[in-house]
């Protein structure tokens, strides 16, 4: 919302400086977005008179001017404007001036042999409008030599504030003035428009066909108007806030929108068909051409204004072309209506119209000011365009907006933390237009002014700013009822409290550190939550750089990494390649790794702890620690460089699992990783035979080629939510036997397809009493072995507990292990 300082002073009698006004606006919740001082930018441009205008000797389209800038000497100026002529007055820019509309700085020059010591400017060149047909042509009485900005009244700073959605009343200069006055910055000037004399009966009557369409509407005609350009002061004001002046009648409606926050509409009576204007809901086949040049087809939920010929306007949002006012209008009909704000908001959104009228109607107008607004508009039209007023046609009725609200003074400190006393609180409310209905030592009850639709709004029949309770249906009914019962009272009280606090300024509230609930705070993370931090450290310390990538990606790419159900499709993606929730972070990490490779960094290790999305439910969002490694290990003199392989991915996944308390003995590996992995070089780590905890492996070449990545690349995904929470029980006493362990190496010959894991498990289960550890330390496959066989070597550690083992006992235990391994896997012990 923009306005100028002088416009504000029309309503506010104050001697406060601009700085004080801006600071106060910020304090009371009308945030200042910017201040523009156009006079400063245009200071070097002066009013000048063209004394001579001759054809340029060397150019058909140029003229050589002699210009008097008021200091007695004639300047030579070359000008291409068609309207440049001797005797005219215009705006001259002198060397050194920056021309805002064209972005150049003027200097003395020579144009085709004629000296040019300045520039006569167009409206566009000064950044004041679109006109570039010719140079500015000022009236004869413009004083030569005066700074143009000063003469044109541009020395009036334009203030822009951002008005929060609850404050419809502050979308008016008068509303802003009222707030500033209440904050102690002067007094609000009285506003009490005299009714216009009625000269004839109204030519048009209002009919509200459907009560849903309109709450109340007033209208009246003014005949005998002359509709030309509006006076300069009005044009200047509208231009200052970025509106284009059109003609006096339309300018009056725009002025009211900003001055009083009251959108009006004007019909050209001669263009209206029939004698009635009807407020109704849209019907099948309705269509009209709006003033903004677009055609709208109202639905049965939209409010329309219709005459006998059909729809004329989408009520309160955008008017129609066919009955609009122009220079030929001799009789005008003014509409001043009050609509259901919710319906207006929905219509505006449905048709995507953002108009000043909609913004005010959906936030709520002053429901008690209908008649005064109409009278004020009538007077202004008669003042600017002449004519005489008709009687008023009216339909509907003023809504029951009257309501009270109570503030208990104790709440000022109890909720507001403020030391404002009762007297000051009541005075603040009164300055804002509240009237005291009752007051005692503990509380005050006030009547809410008609323009403050945001205060105790659920008690007003005009439902601007209101919202309904929408309690969670699963709540215990008694509890829900108790909660609901107090809401209305507390809400109204909070509304009043906010008014009292904001006028004083929130900086006045003393800050109080949050009191401790106990001597020391409880842990801020649950064991489950702290695992995320641990997983992050584990992966980063394994040399992966943490990344944060988008949770959505291109549907086609996502489909390579898992199911891409329609239910996880973004309906309104911001870009075509961000339209599907990713099935796994690997999808986006791999693209990121590819981008690094394309930049000349082909060896990259990235991880992310983020969501995999498998269903649009809380359970369908799986917390995942995922990583991708592309390229090769670092070059080093003592460690040969190699490409990353599936074992690296397994190492990363396993490191996370072990850090999070998963017991290695409980883990099994199956070879059924999802399809984005290489089918022969990937696996799923499971807890026991079933529950998958992680998957890892080389990525499938088909996926890499689809993403344009030169492979190989590896990836892993640890499903954090599936990892059972470690049990927080006391550790048992440590097992510290006093006898030395016995170590034996056993090499087995086994079919190549047998998993090493199978040998380890068979060995482990064979001898539970003596066997402390078993691990694989060698794998050999080569031409010294029979075709299709590999050699796997295990180290077994036997731990005696009661006495040193005899050789026979050791041999017996080893034989048991060998037999069990042989039975389970077909392996034979190598000599």
């Amino acid at each position: 919302m923009k306005f100028t300082l002088s416009w504000l002073r029309d309503h506010l009698d104050t001697d406060a400086s601009l700085e004080t006004i801006l600071a106060t606006l910020n304090t009371i919740g009308l945030e200042v977005e910017g201040v523009e001082d156009r006079a400063a930018a245009l200071a070097p441009f002066r009013i000048a008179q063209v004394v001579e205008a001759e054809q340029h000797p060397n150019a058909d389209r140029l003229r050589a001017l002699k210009v008097d800038a008021g200091d007695g000497k004639l300047l030579s100026v070359v000008c291409g404007a068609p309207n440049a002529r001797a005797g005219m007055k215009g705006v001259l820019g002198l060397p050194g001036a920056f021309v805002p509309g064209s972005g150049i700085t003027l200097k003395v020059g020579e144009i085709r042999g004629v000296k040019s010591e300045g520039m006569m400017c167009s409206t566009r060149e000064l950044g004041l409008g679109d006109d570039h047909e010719g140079i500015i042509d000022l009236p004869e009485d413009a004083p030569v030599g005066m700074p143009y900005a000063e003469w044109a009244g541009l020395g009036d700073p334009v203030i822009e504030i951002s008005v929060t959605p609850n404050r419809g009343d502050a979308l008016a200069v008068r509303g802003v003035a009222r707030d500033l006055a209440a904050a102690g910055l002067g007094t609000l000037k009285p506003w009490n428009p005299e009714p216009a004399a009625v000269a004839y009966p109204t030519p048009l009557e209002w009919v509200i066909e459907d009560p849903r369409a309109c709450i109340q509407v007033l209208g009246r005609a003014v005949r005998g108007v002359a509709n030309g350009p509006s006076p300069k002061w009005l044009q200047d004001r509208l231009a200052a806030i970025g509106l284009r002046p059109i003609n006096a009648l339309v300018d009056v409606t725009n002025f009211f929108t900003f001055d009083l926050g009251r959108p009006l509409h004007v019909f050209d009576v001669a263009k209206v068909k029939g004698k009635t204007l009807t407020m109704r809901l849209g019907r099948e086949g309705d269509e009209y051409q709006a003033l903004n040049g677009k055609t709208y087809r109202p639905t049965s939920e939209d409010i329309v204004i219709a005459d006998e010929a059909g729809v004329e306007s989408l009520a309160a949002i955008v008017g129609g072309e066919s009955t609009g006012c122009d220079e030929t209008t001799r009789e005008v009909f003014i509409e001043c209506a009050l609509f259901d704000p919710v319906r207006i908001a929905r219509t505006g959104r449905r048709h995507q119209v953002h108009s000043d009228a909609r913004a005010r109607n959906e936030r709520g107008l002053d429901p008690a000011a209908q008649r005064a607004m109409l009278e004020a508009a009538t007077r202004m039209i008669i003042e600017l365009c002449g004519g005489e007023a008709s009687s008023i046609s009216e339909a509907g009725a003023e809504p029951a907006w009257q309501r009270d609200a109570t503030l208990r003074f104790e709440r000022i400190a109890g909720l507001g933390g403020s030391s404002i006393g009762p007297d000051q609180a009541v005075a603040s409310l009164e300055k804002l237009g509240f009237t005291v209905k009752a007051r005692d030592a503990a509380s005050v009850t006030v009547a809410v002014p008609s323009w403050r639709n945001d205060i105790a709004s659920s008690r007003s029949a005009y439902r601007a700013g209101g919202s309904d309770l929408t309690q969670e249906p699963g709540l215990d009914p008694t509890r829900a009822q108790a909660a609901a019962a107090g809401t209305d009272e507390v809400e109204a009280e909070c509304d009043l409290l906010e008014e009292v606090l904001r006028l004083e300024g929130l900086d006045a509230i003393p800050a109080v550190s949050l009191p401790a609930e106990g001597r020391l705070p409880l842990p801020s993370l649950t064991p489950r939550q702290s695992r995320t931090a641990l997983a992050r450290r584990v992966l980063a310390s394994r040399g992966l750089a943490e990344a944060v990538t988008f949770g959505f990606t291109a549907h086609a790419i996502a489909s390579y990494f898992g199911a891409v159900p329609e239910a996880l499709r973004v309906e309104n993606p911001i870009a075509a390649d961000l339209d599907q929730m990713r099935p796994t972070p690997v999808a986006t990490l791999l693209q990121a790794a590819g981008r690094n490779a394309a930049r000349g960094y082909p060896d990259v290790s990235l991880f992310e702890i983020g969501a995999s999305y498998v269903a649009p439910t809380p359970e369908g969002q799986l917390a995942t620690a995922a990583g991708v490694r592309l390229g090769r290990t670092p070059r080093h003199w003592d460690a040969p460089q190699r490409t990353f392989d599936a074992m690296d991915a397994k190492g990363d996944a396993l490191a996370v699992l072990l850090a999070l308390g998963v017991s290695p003995a409980a883990l099994t590996v199956t070879m059924d990783a999802p399809a984005h992995y290489h089918p022969g070089r990937s696996g799923v780590l499971r807890s026991g035979p079933k529950l998958p905890l992680a998957r890892f492996g080389e990525l499938h070449p088909r996926v890499l080629s689809a993403l344009g990545i030169d492979g190989p690349a590896i990836a892993f995904e640890v499903l954090l939510d599936s990892i059972p929470e470690p049990k927080r029980k006391k550790k048992s006493a440590p097992d510290l036997p006093s006898f030395q362990p016995v170590r034996r190496d056993l090499a087995f010959l086994v079919d190549r397809d047998v998993q090493a894991d199978a040998l380890l498990r068979a060995a482990r289960n064979a001898e539970r009493n003596l066997l402390a550890e078993v691990s694989l330390f060698d794998r050999y496959a080569g031409d010294k072995l029979p075709e299709g066989k590999v050699s796997l070597a295990l180290e077994v550690v036997l731990q005696p507990r009661e006495r040193t083992l005899t050789d026979a006992e050791i041999e017996a235990a080893i034989a048991k292990i060998v037999a069990a391994v042989a039975k389970a896997t077909g392996a034979t012990l190598r000599g």
Binding site: T27, P165, G414, Q471, E491, P521, P616
Partner: protein, 360 residues
């Protein structure tokens, strides 16, 4: 189609089916469509036909040629897939083997993202004030994200949230990608009895993409509910946090009255900085940094808390924003690019966990 063409087609199709690899398939292609292929020969022979037959016959041969080309292509794709699958099967390795006992890259190559770092700091600082971390899903229902927070469907405030929607299930409402972390306020109040002190760091989504907006970003929400929590506490908590987080003991903090549908009274919070140098703490300018307020009575009641008994405050701020300010990171977009050069520059070492005693 003429009988001879049918027979030819059957022959070629049989040959294709018999081609077990790409080389064999190519031989079939040459025999049919090569320079001296059978189909090519038929096309060459058309010139010899009487003009009245030529047209019909030519059309038939060309149809056949097209069919064979398509069939060859299909077979080629299939054989390539077979070849790849065979290669992958041959590359099979024993993934049950224990992985190497060391990582292929070391801690000096790894790093923690600045967003995570800030989250760790937030958790430590608010944790010291007794806050616990609460979480919620990214995909939310309309009720949690809007209605329960006193933002009805028609509310002008909904236009400020450029909401992403997912496809609606049959007969249901379309889920949203949460536009703020505030729905977790609702989830917390529904599942936890007051007093409540939680912060909610998490991902949020809005349909806005330019130099200063990302369609996915991070927020931290705070919620404190008790019997006597007032605006002084709100101010104290935020001032304490901001001064600790930015490490400036006298950081100027300003509170301005504002509006959010889910708080009443509401306020925006500014910190002092210099617009010219970007330096925090001095310079006479103000920078808006977060929004906050006393939890709206309707929000409490929507969650079954009686607003006559319970009251408290909530706040929300952008994690990227405070991270950029703290570390002087000029641009938002690289946060999500995973450019390893940027990460190396701004990320922190995995071996330096944040503690309250850090000189941040």
């Amino acid at each position: 189609m003429a009988d001879d063409l049918d027979m030819l087609r059957a022959d070629i199709e049989a040959a294709m089916a018999g081609a077990e690899d790409l080389r064999a398939l190519d031989a079939v292609r040459v025999a049919a469509l090569g320079k001296s292929g059978q189909v090519t020969a038929l096309l060459k022979g058309l010139g010899a036909l009487p003009p009245e037959e030529r047209k019909a016959r030519g059309a038939e041969v060309n149809v056949l040629k097209g069919e064979i080309e398509r069939a060859l292509e299909q077979r080629r794709v299939m054989l390539e897939a077979f070849a790849l699958d065979a290669r992958l099967a041959a590359e099979r390795m024993d993934v049950s083997l224990p992985p190497r006992p060391f990582a292929p890259t070391g801690p000096e190559a790894g790093s923690i993202h600045p967003i995570s770092r800030t989250m760790e700091e937030l958790i430590a600082l608010f944790g010291a004030m007794g806050f616990a971390v609460a979480e919620g899903p990214d995909i939310e229902g309309d009720w949690h994200n809007f209605s329960a927070l006193n933002i009805p469907e028609h509310h002008p405030a909904r236009q400020d949230h450029d909401t992403f929607y997912l496809t609606a299930p049959e007969g249901g409402r379309r889920p949203v990608l949460r536009t703020h972390t505030s729905p977790v306020q609702i989830r917390t109040m529904l599942t936890q009895e007051p007093p409540i002190r939680v912060i909610v760091p998490g991902r949020t989504w809005r349909a806005d993409h330019d130099a200063t907006h990302s369609p996915m970003f991070h927020q931290v929400e705070g919620l404190v509910i008790g019997r006597d929590i007032h605006m002084g506490h709100l101010k104290g908590t935020l001032i304490d946090f901001l001064r600790a987080f930015f490490g400036i003991a006298d950081l100027p903090v300003r509170f301005r009255s504002s509006y959010f549908p889910f708080t009443e009274p509401s306020m925006e919070v500014d910190i002092g900085w210099s617009r010219k140098t970007g330096e925090l703490g001095s310079g006479g300018d103000w920078l808006e940094i977060l929004g906050s307020g006393m939890v709206h009575p309707k929000v409490l009641a929507n969650c079954g808390l009686d607003p006559r008994v319970w009251q408290g405050f909530a706040f929300g701020m952008g994690i990227e924003r405070i991270t950029m300010l703290k570390h002087g990171i000029p641009d938002l977009r690289p946060f999500y690019e995973a450019d390893c050069r940027w990460l190396r520059h701004y990320a922190t070492s995995p071996l330096s966990p944040f503690t309250l005693h850090d000189a941040s």
